[in-house]
Symmetry: C2
Subunit: 355 residues, 2 copies
């Protein structure tokens, strides 16, 4: 029964986030969370922000946070737009830069929120098939498009796109915005931020959920030239002028300023990923090279769903996407060394028993 539902949502199929179990303790490798805690300085900043000033509205311009982000990337504050998680920032981008009658392009295998946004905001879109090895083909993104969205590194494959390819796509779309979603870039991808000064049609989106261990705080941001940032502000101020609470602004700014802790945890995740990838390859898994904090794995001997169910019984959660071309793959977030050892041992057993 959907009485009173607007037409916009009556046939909507919303995004489904990975499971957040409450009933028992799992090794949680299903939502690309960071296994290491957030910066101690971020936690202290949050605690310090929990005082009587919470009676007052937050700074709508998020000046201090924008300053921290700008400095981290060598940009200016007016090239920064922070929001309530990169999902919200992406939703704002779809509204700010794309029009219903101009087709937006993204790969067929990518972050599954993109088609949800496109449907919800009533945008025409076309999904460009990735190559069989999950590499991005560049030519189909060049032409008269209404916009381009590329996750780099891509999700759920973990594969990275070279800067020269991003540049080619930017050059070929001078009348459309090219959105590069760099949610996972800190784990080994190549950022397009260096191109922002050159291209007035480039928007880069980032999140603190993964590389800054702050999935629970909901902070993401867009980077681009001030004209594009102003468009995002216009969308925000038409919906909710204060999207970031005082506590989140303070915690995010402190996390970003704690560069050494950030680099240290990112290094640990990369090291564990590379070690675990080798181990899984030794066990016969197909493991495309990942530049993210997850790996995308498939085994010729056992179907992915069977492996997933078996892992769940052993207390390990991973993510499966029931979609064409990738239904025999599992996306496995990188946990601690100990957690990944437990994963490998569990997979070894499942392969041995064939069940």
């Amino acid at each position: 029964m959907k009485k009173y539902w607007s037409r916009r949502i009556r046939d909507m199929v919303p995004y489904v986030p990975g499971e957040q179990p409450k009933d028992r303790i799992f090794i949680k490798l299903n939502t690309n969370e960071n296994p290491y805690p957030p910066s101690e300085k971020a936690l202290m900043a949050i605690q310090a922000a929990a005082d009587e000033r919470l009676r007052l509205y937050p700074a709508p311009g998020c000046e201090d946070l924008r300053q921290a982000i700008a400095q981290h990337h060598g940009l200016l504050p007016d090239q920064v737009f922070p929001g309530n998680g990169s999902d919200e920032v992406l939703a704002f981008c779809f509204q700010a830069f794309f029009d219903p009658d101009r087709t937006v392009l993204f790969p067929d295998i990518t972050y599954s929120f993109y088609p949800v946004y496109a449907n919800f905001f009533d945008l025409a879109y076309h999904e460009i098939p990735l190559r069989d090895n999950f590499d991005l083909p560049v030519t189909p993104f060049c032409g008269r498009n209404g916009g381009v969205v590329i996750a780099n590194p891509n999700a759920p494959t973990g594969k990275s796109v070279g800067l020269e390819n991003i540049r080619t796509i930017l050059d070929a779309n001078p009348e459309a915005v090219v959105l590069v979603d760099e949610a996972y870039v800190d784990f080994g991808g190549i950022s397009a931020i260096s191109l922002i000064s050159e291209y007035d049609n480039l928007v880069v989106v980032r999140t603190l959920s993964k590389s800054h261990s702050l999935a629970g705080l909901r902070v993401g941001y867009a980077l681009g030239n001030p004209n594009l940032i102003a468009a995002l502000c216009c969308v925000r101020d038409s919906i909710n002028s204060y999207t970031l609470d005082r506590v989140a602004q303070a915690g995010a700014a402190a996390a970003i300023r704690d560069e050494s802790y950030f680099l240290e945890t990112v290094e640990k995740v990369i090291h564990t990923r590379d070690r675990c990838s080798e181990e899984l390859k030794r066990m016969g898994f197909i493991v495309p090279e990942s530049s993210a904090n997850f790996i995308f794995i498939s085994h010729p001997a056992l179907p992915a769903t069977k492996l997933m169910d078996g892992l769940r019984k052993k207390g390990i959660l991973v993510r499966h996407f029931d979609r064409p071309r990738i239904s025999n793959y599992l996306r496995v977030s990188i946990g601690t060394d100990q957690e990944m050892d437990a994963l490998c041992a569990a997979l070894e057993k499942l392969l041995e028993s064939g069940d």
Copy 2:
């Protein structure tokens, strides 16, 4: 220069929030913040939530917060939809319940975000003139409408609508959602929550920004029957599955459970408002009876803008809306007794000097 801006925003006039000054200390009576700090228990809950679990995504279903809200109002959790401030919740309502070709009604003098939402989401709307005394006329809201939005108490007038009028409007709109925005109701308005079990077309929206002194935390919520709540979840999950961070969920739940502190601060604000209203009437001000944490004042001897500028020079901020019928009024938030005494003294001086 708006190159790359979507048509949706190219001509948008966004909402403008009240000023948040940074340069000097003002007596801030311009954004309806509560002069008293948030519950100590809320602050402690936020500090306790600032721990290593922030590396994990928040509970997308906000179960504990929904439980706290439901219990506060004598409802069930599936009648509760929490969001990132009531502005976001309102924006979700406009998308969930209203269609472009069915005219939505709201008063001509009301929360100025409503026409912004309607324009942004491309909805037809009609503004029903309030009576000259700012009372809501009921009949124009009865008929074949695409939706009704009523702030009760209204902003910026502070005037309250009786439950029998809300009931009449609900009865007359069986095919459309009636949205009652109760942002200020705790300060003396009459809530429509008791009608939720009777009317499957009623949505009530609340915020913790005013009566719970948590403007800085960004938490609001909608109440209604589970079918309407499911529609709001569908909108949320098409935009941003996790709109409320862990810290905000924890702080909001604790604030709502601290009923005695809530009642105490609300009582203090009401007492100050009534005392100050009498004082201003004595000085010749027109002061419509307010059920909110602000008053709406006008003086026959001096134009509102002149009073506002004079107050600013004396370090007091109030809000003026340059709109038809109310351009000679000022909206003054209720501060502490001391702050309101300073306001009255400043106004007295401005009236004496005529400048």
